[in-house]
Structures are given as C-alpha cells and as structure tokens.
C-alpha cells in the first residue's frame, strides 16, 4: 500500500480564469522512503496539488472530484479537527519563503516547542528542540534556539522550518519549492539535508519544484505537470534521460546546459573600465551601533567591444550594486568608471545625459520594470523622444523593435498587464535597444522567468548581441546561464571579485575556493540533459 495515493483529483478554478480547473484528473502516489518530484512551470497546478493533500486549499478553489488516501484513510472526507491532528503529526509541509513562514516575534526554540506542545508532547520539548536543531545540521543548537528569526540567514531559517516539520516525525513531508528563494550553495546544502533525513527516517517526500537541476539532484520518481494535468510520470532516470511527452522534451531542452564552450579571445578596445570603485552603505548611528556594509570594493573589471562579461555571485555579493554604479542608479564614493576613457563618476546629471544613449539597462523583474499606466509603444519610444527624436519617428522605430524582439507590432497600443512575464521582458529589452546603445547592462534578465521562456529570452539576447554588435555586462546568480551566454565571467563574493577569466577556463579549472564551491553547487551537475 502506498503512503499517499491521489486519484483523479480535480480542483476547480473560480469562473473567469484561463481554464476551468486548476488541476484536472491528477493521479500520483508516494511510497514510504521515496522522493516524488512534481515539476512544472508557474501556473501548472503543482502547488495546488500539494495544498490539496494538506487540506490547505483556499475557499475559492473547491475539490470537484477524486480521492486523496493517506495511510489508507480518505483525507477529503475527514473532519477539520481530525485533519488538524493529522497535519504536523503525520503530514508536514515546508514552504518556499523561509523569511515569512516563521513568527518574527517568537524565539526559534519556542516555535519548535509549540509544535510539540500543540500535539501533546510538550513535556520533553526542552530535550527535543536542541536535538532537532542538531538534526538539521545547525551549528550550536542551544544558541540558535534562543535567537529570533531575523538573526538567522535564509538557509538557517529554512533549516529551522525543516526541524519544525520533522518535530513529530511525520510519515510524509511535502516541500513546496523549499530552495527557490535560497542561494545556490545554500540550496545544495538544503537538498542534501532533505535527502539525508529522508533516507535516515524512511519518510515519503513530495517535492514541488520548477527546476530540472533540482529534480536530477534529489528525485526518485518524477511527475511533470502542464496546465493542471500530469503529462508524464516515471522513474527519475527514465524521465530525465528519455522523456516521452513533447512538453517534457521541450522543458528539458530549455534547461541551460552548464557546459561552457571555448570562445575566441576578444582583443578589441576596452569600452568600459572600472577601477577602484567603492560603495559603502552606512545605517544606524544616533542610537545603537552603526552598521557599515561594504557593498562593492576591489571589483575592477574591463569590458571590451563586443564582449559579454558575466558577473556571477549569490545574493548580497554586490553584483547588482556594481551594475547600478555603472548607470548611476547608485553613486559610488570612490573610483573611476571609464567609458571610452572618460570618467563618468564625477559628471553631473546633465553631463550624464549624452551617455544615457550609449549605456542602457535591462531589469530583473518584468512585472515591476514597466510603467503600468503607459502603453507599450510609448514605453519604448519615450527614451528617444526624451533625447529629441520626433515622436512619430520614435514610434515607427518602436514598431520595428517589437518585430526585432519577436512581438506583434499590434502590441503598441496595449498596456503591460496584458502581457506575460516573458513578453514583458522582451518589451524591456526593446526599450533599452530603442536608444541604440553600445553597452547593455542586463541585471538578472531571466531569473524571474520560467525555464522555457528563459531559454527564448536568452536566445533573443544572444541573437541581438550578434546582430547589433552589443557589448554586454550580464549579471546572474545562475552559473548555467552564465556558461551559456558569457565570453568571460567574474565571480563576486561579499563585494569583491574573487576570480575572473574566460568562461570555459573558469568552469574547467576554477582557482578560487569560492568558485569551486559555486560550481559544485549547481543542481543536477551530474546530469547532462540528453540531446533531443
């Protein structure tokens, strides 16, 4: 008998959605001691399936059909009281966002003790809490138990969440994208931890993810979801290496390969040279200690004509700050930012204006980077109009640019909310290209996108770069993406560049320990996506 068996589950969407059912006729099972990965892009219904098992569906999404049997009991007909007892004790869940899943006002130890108390085993909390924290490999469990959540890093919080989930030794752990909000090195540690605990205790794990690298790392079996249906299901090795369904094949083909090919060295004249740029954030003062964060220091780079330099690092490494220094969204205290030999740093706002044409930027969040109250055409045309191009001419050019980024010119008069994330990112790229820049700064342009869309946008960027001879500074946290698109990479850690060189060399023979650690943490690095 399976631990969990979901049969023909159908959950309705509120009327007026893009499809009648959030999930439709979904069947899968999880056995004790195995990890089932449910993979899919955003909106595929994978989280809804997990929430249905936990009995955590919002009111607007009623279950229409199907059964969810857990240890032989039907969960859908269970009284709320019985379901509450089951949750936590036999079924546990960890969430994507460790920042908001913990009560910020309660000490970590008390929160774990509360779980034990609610389920009637509060008496031995004092003994069990440090034990649990130690079991998730947290150093100095006693000290961690006494601290508040804000003192802990994202990875530590996620460990605390896992400790809480494990407190009552559940038979089934549901993990909803537990590593998506984490840095790549932390992600690897958490994945190993879940793997280890699962095999030690013989739990069943239902693991929701969008990342095929993570699947390759952790899954025993895989279920692929598309628009509310499971399109393919099977053992991990089978699905990853011999995908049968066309959608699975498309998804796997879109995974960045992570293999860097050697490229010819570029020896053109430098376009941008950063020397001794420093940015330090100070906060506090008055009361309490002054906190000083050196966001950027020791980060000299030089970018040659037609070259793409990847700036790689984890969150907080200062890569975005450095990029923003170049376009003066952040003003550094020291150093020179030489563009064709002219130092841009001391220029006034007006003095900068001519350079705005030459240096443009593509932003990370496709939902926040377009003005929601302006039509797409105006958005693209406004840069040239600001710099004195007649409006009619700028709009004509915007139409051409929409074709260049593979959007229908009919999009001109529509507003951003009518477009998907990938389409918006294309609009953002068109806006930057409208200025006919020489240097394009791309700040995580694909990290908010689904993997298939990500592949399209990367291909578009590569094509445009080749066609227009752009020089590009490409910021990313994803080494697989960097490998695919960059000629050279610079690895940043805590505000400094620790290693810099041609992509293939850095990937093949990393010199710095941190680079090695980053490369080791690429999820699914042992798996080479099959040629399809």
């Amino acid at each position: 008998m399976s631990l969990l068996r979901v049969d023909g589950l159908t959950v309705a969407l509120p009327p007026g959605g893009d499809r009648p059912h959030a999930v439709e006729d979904v069947s899968f099972h999880v056995d004790a001691g195995e990890i089932l990965c449910v993979v899919g892009e955003s909106g595929s219904g994978k989280s809804i399936s997990a929430n249905a098992v936990m009995g955590l569906l919002p009111k607007g999404l009623p279950v229409r059909q199907g059964s969810i049997a857990f240890e032989g009991r039907e969960l859908l007909s269970l009284a709320p009281e019985a379901m509450r007892k089951l949750r936590g004790e036999r079924l546990a869940m960890i969430f994507q966002e460790p920042m908001t899943a913990l009560n910020p006002l309660m000490r970590v130890g008390d929160q774990i003790a509360e779980v034990l108390r609610v389920h009637g085993s509060g008496a031995d909390a004092a003994r069990r809490v440090p034990e649990l924290l130690a079991a998730v490999n947290l150093p100095d469990p006693a000290a961690i138990a006494r601290s508040h959540p804000f003192r802990l890093s994202g990875g530590q919080r996620q460990r605390v969440m896992i400790a809480m989930a494990l407190a009552l030794e559940p038979a089934l752990l549901i993990a909803d994208e537990p590593t998506t909000a984490l840095d790549v090195t932390t992600q690897m540690q958490i994945l190993r931890l879940i793997r280890e605990i699962q095999s030690r205790r013989g739990m069943g794990v239902l693991f929701i993810t969008h990342d095929f690298g993570v699947v390759a790392e952790i899954a025993d079996r895989v279920a692929v979801m598309q628009r509310g249906r499971i399109v393919e299901q099977g053992p991990a090795a089978e699905v990853l290496n011999r995908p049968q369904h066309s959608y699975t094949q498309a998804l796997i083909a879109a995974v960045p390969h992570g293999a860097a090919q050697a490229r010819a060295a570029i020896t053109t004249a430098p376009v941008l040279e950063l020397r001794g740029v420093e940015k330090t954030y100070r906060r506090g003062g008055f009361f309490g200690a002054r906190a000083v964060v050196r966001a950027v220091h020791d980060a000299d780079i030089s970018l040659r004509q037609g070259e793409t330099l990847g700036l790689v690092g984890e969150s907080g490494s200062g890569k975005s700050t450095l990029a923003r220094c170049v376009v003066r969204l952040v003003e550094p205290e020291r150093g020179t930012i030489a563009y064709h030999g002219t130092d841009l740093r001391p220029l006034s706002r007006a003095g900068w204006k001519p350079y705005r044409r030459r240096i443009q930027m593509v932003f990370q969040d496709p939902y926040a980077s377009l003005n929601p109250r302006r039509t797409v055409g105006d958005t693209i045309a406004e840069g040239p109009v600001t710099h004195g191009t007649p409006r009619a001419q700028a709009l004509e050019r915007a139409r051409e640019l929409l074709r260049l980024v593979q959007l229908d010119p009919g999009a001109m008069d529509r507003y951003p909310h009518e477009f998907s994330g990938g389409q918006r990112q294309r609009i953002g790229i068109a806006r930057a290209l409208a200025m006919e820049p020489e240097l394009l700064i791309a700040d995580e342009p694909v990290s908010a996108l689904d993997v298939s869309v990500q592949a399209q946008v990367l291909a578009l960027l590569a094509e445009i770069r080749a066609r227009l001879g752009l020089t590009m500074l490409f910021i990313t946290h994803d080494l697989r993406v960097a490998a695919q698109i960059c000629d050279r990479v610079a690895v940043m850690q805590r505000g400094a560049i620790v290693e810099q060189g041609p992509t293939s060399e850095v990937f093949a023979a990393p010199r710095h320990a941190y680079t090695r650690q980053l490369l080791d943490s690429i999820p699914g690095r042992g798996w080479t996506p099959p040629e399809l």
């Binding site: 009111k59 607007g60 376009v327 969204l329 706002r349 900068w352 204006k353 705005r356 044409r357 240096i359 443009q360 930027m361 932003f363 990370q364 969040d365 926040a368 980077s369 377009l370 003005n371 929601p372 109250r373 302006r374 406004e382 840069g383 600001t386 710099h387 953002g428 806006r431 200025m435």
Partner: protein, 281 residues
C-alpha cells in the same frame, strides 16, 4: 474604465452614496429655480412648523424658508468643499512629491514643516485663521485648505518613496528623463488612487469644518450655509426643532455619501484589497 465602474458597483453602499451626492449636486444646481429670490428674505410667518403655510420644512425665527436655506446652502457647502480640497491637494501633492522623490535633507525639511502644522489642533487653527483674516468665503476656504493639506503630503510622500525604488522608475532614470518628467509621467499617475480616495474624504471633512465655522458665527455673513442655519436655530431648538434638524440631516447625508463614495473608490481602485476584505467577511 468599464472595469472600474463594474468594481465600483459591487459596493452597494458606494452606489447609494453616489446617488445621494448627485441629488445634493442637483439640489444645489437648481436652487435658484426651485427657490427664486434670496434665501434671506421673509417667506412666511416666523416659527411655522414643517408642512404648514406651504413651507415644506417650516420657517425660522424671522420667517425665512428653511428649505430655501438648505438648497442655497448646498451651493456654498459643495463649493467650499471642492475648492478647499483642490487647494489642499495642490499644496499637499507638491510638498509630498518633493519630499518623497528627493529624499534626504529635502524630505526632512518638508516633513518637519508638515509636522509643525499637524501638531496644532486643526479646528483651533482654522478658527484662528478665519478670525485673523475676517470671515469671508475666501478666508474660510483658505483656512480649511491650510489645515487639511498635511495628511495629503504624508500619503503622497509615502507613495513616492515606495514608487521611487521601483524598477520602471529606475528605467526612466536610465533613459535620461528629467526629474520633473519622471515625477509627472511615471510616479504621479501610479500614485493617483490613494490621492483620489483621500480627496473624496477631504471634501467631506471640509464641509464639516465649514459648517462648524459657520455654526460659531465665523462663516461669510453674506452667504446662507448649513452651519449658519443650525447655529441660528440652536437657541430655539426646543421651540422649533426643524430649524436645526433639517440642515443637520443635510450635512449628515452629504458627508455620509462622500464617505461611502470614498470607500467605493478605494475598493474599485484596489480590487485585490477589496476582494480580501470581502473574502474575510
């Protein structure tokens, strides 16, 4: 726009408020035809109760028609409400925008200046200002505007602070747009919804303030207002209740309508919040 109207209609109270408000506006607009002649003129015997001698809402101690007073008073109340709110918006939005967009020292300076006004009880300040500048419609509007701009400045500043860091504003920055054009075309249109909601509530409080000033005898002596009607009926309220009660109902309905409309606007402009509220109930 159709979408907006559909969401607005979902809030039944707001639709009722809008209907009341339109009726008040209609009353104000047609006052010269409904009640020709000055509302200060004697129209019947003093102290006639409502319904007697052809006086719908009775007469006051000098024989003036209360209904005529209310209709003509509606013109003044709405005018004062609208004009003072517009003036307060002009000051509040400008200062709030400067503080929120520039930040730093400018922000500190503007916010301390705003707090200076907020620490003085607004009604006392309004009385003081009207008393200094002698009561007239101009000074009443001025006084109300002076005491009601600080909340606008605070709301606008908060909106600007959060919008300033958004990526589309940074993108405009990178395109090389001027500060003024970023503020006017990128930030302000996206900060409009709270301003619209706030201003509907400000009109309501301006009408209340004006009535309170008139009640104390600080209104324009040449203009018939609701506050004046209540004030003049105050001393004979046990003898002739209708003199105070009907203008009071007029104030109550108008302010209630404005508040209902304000809430409806807020629901229609922030559909996500409205749905959450509806879901929780």
């Amino acid at each position: 726009m159709r979408d907006f109207w559909r969401r607005f209609r979902r809030n039944k109270g707001a639709v009722v408020g809008l209907v009341i408000l339109l009726l008040v506006v209609l009353l104000a607009a047609t006052a010269p035809w409904l009640f020709p002649g000055s509302p200060w003129d004697m129209a019947g015997a003093p102290f006639s109760p409502p319904g007697e001698m052809g006086m719908l809402l009775g007469t006051d101690s000098l024989g003036r028609d209360v209904a005529a007073g209310i209709a003509h008073g509606a013109r003044i109340s709405l005018l004062v409400g609208a004009v003072s709110t517009a003036a307060a918006l002009l000051v509040g939005v400008t200062l709030g925008a400067v503080a929120g967009y520039l930040g730093g020292i400018a922000d500190d300076a503007v916010m301390r200046f705003t707090e200076f006004f907020q620490t003085i009880p607004s009604f006392v300040l309004a009385i003081l200002l009207v008393a200094i500048f002698t009561p007239s419609i101009g000074s009443v509007v001025f006084a109300i505007a002076i005491v009601s701009w600080p909340p606008v400045a605070r709301v606008v500043r908060a909106e600007f602070l959060s919008l300033r860091g958004r990526e589309f504003v940074q993108a405009a920055e990178v395109l090389g747009k001027s500060r003024l054009s970023i503020v006017l075309t990128d930030i302000l249109p996206n900060a409009l919804s709270p301003i619209v909601v706030l201003s509907s509530l400000m009109v309501a409080s301006a009408i209340l303030l004006e009535s309170a000033l008139s009640f104390l005898g600080l209104g324009d002596p040449n203009l018939m207002t609701w506050g004046f009607l209540i004030g003049s009926g105050r001393s004979v309220i046990r003898l002739a209740w209708w003199m105070s009660v009907f203008p009071g109902i007029a104030i109550f309905l108008t302010v209630l309508a404005l508040n209902l409309v304000g809430e409806g606007l807020s629901d229609a402009l922030n559909p996500r919040l409205a749905r959450q509220r509806g879901g929780a109930a």
